[in-house]
């Protein structure tokens, strides 16, 4: 099984990397870009095949390590 964990800064937390990306894109002539946000995807290979169980475990992983909930929120997708 595979889990995809998307981790991004919470709204309201300044994202200097995202801002720099938007600015550089504008400077490169991509005027249509009105904002950019940078987040992480963590792909996990998991043994086992119980998707619900996996989801619960990955949630625990997020709370314990993968995300810092002071500044970040996360979203999990489980794939086969």
């Amino acid at each position: 099984m595979k889990a995809l964990v998307y981790v991004g800064l919470k709204p309201g937390v300044l994202d200097p990397q995202g801002r720099a990306i938007a600015r550089s894109l504008n400077d490169l002539g991509f005027d249509e870009v009105t904002g950019a946000f940078q987040g992480k995807v963590i792909e996990l290979n998991l043994s086992g095949d119980d998707k619900d169980h996996a989801k619960a475990r990955v949630t625990e992983m997020c709370e314990k390590l993968l995300a810092n909930t002071v500044i970040e929120s996360y979203r999990i997708e489980i794939e086969d």
Binding site: L14, P16, N68, V70
Partner: protein
């Protein structure tokens, strides 16, 4: 007086911290490997050193803060053990929840290494009492992720309780309210991005860091 420095994989200011402690206490500091599960009960002061624990992978300090030794550190912090984290050590302290907030990528995105002027915001803490009214110090900074963040409520509380210990004079990294160093509610756990341990010898270009170490050692 016994002091200790915790070493994580790729801590790299552990020796610097130990030298500073030895200079101030006259005794070598004990080096504790992160896999240990207990801080010896006779240790009076613990430093979490700077560096790039676990390569700064995932988030700075995140993986280190889940090390076995940190569990015991958290327990002892609650009982009042003085603990200071500098640079990466500060990041480990916020990641482990011993100090509020988080450290984000520097606003300018680049690593920055320079002597940095700081104002002492609270000269009455266990980490600043020996500065005897001095208002400004210069410590080197050297970091990529030193941009202090906390929500407004937390920041207001820190300010109200006098827990903002140092502020940057000329913000080098985008930190909220120019915050450079803070203490916990109990006043025993302290964290800052600058490196006082690199300002303890005239060769370093200044000795302003000594006051910080003397303060905490004196208070024990």
């Amino acid at each position: 007086m016994k002091t200790a420095v915790i070493t994580f994989p790729a801590s790299n200011c552990n020796r610097d911290a130990a030298m500073a402690l030895e200079k101030v206490t006259g005794r070598p500091a004990q080096m504790i490997w992160h896999r240990e599960t207990e801080i010896p009960s006779d240790i009076d002061f613990v430093v979490l050193p700077g560096g790039f624990s676990y390569g700064d992978y995932l988030r700075c300090g995140a993986i280190a803060s889940r090390s076995p030794i940190v569990k015991d550190l958290v327990a002892k912090a609650e009982k009042g053990l003085p603990i200071a984290g500098f640079c990466n050590g500060f990041q480990v302290l916020t990641e482990s929840g011993l100090l509020p907030g988080a450290l984000l990528r520097n606003k300018q995105l680049n690593f920055v290494c320079r002597p940095q002027k700081l104002t002492i915001e609270n000269g009455n803490t266990r980490y600043t009492s020996q500065y005897a009214g001095l208002k400004e110090v210069i410590f080197p900074i050297a970091h990529h992720d030193g941009n202090y963040y906390a929500d407004d409520a937390t920041l207001n509380q820190l300010e109200k309780e006098g827990r903002v210990v140092f502020r940057y004079a000329g913000n080098p990294n985008g930190s909220a309210r120019d915050i450079a160093g803070i203490v916990n509610e109990g006043g025993n756990v302290f964290g800052m991005m600058p490196h006082p341990e690199r300002a303890i010898d005239p060769v370093h270009g200044g000795t302003d860091g000594l006051g910080l170490f003397k303060s905490i050692i004196e208070s024990i």
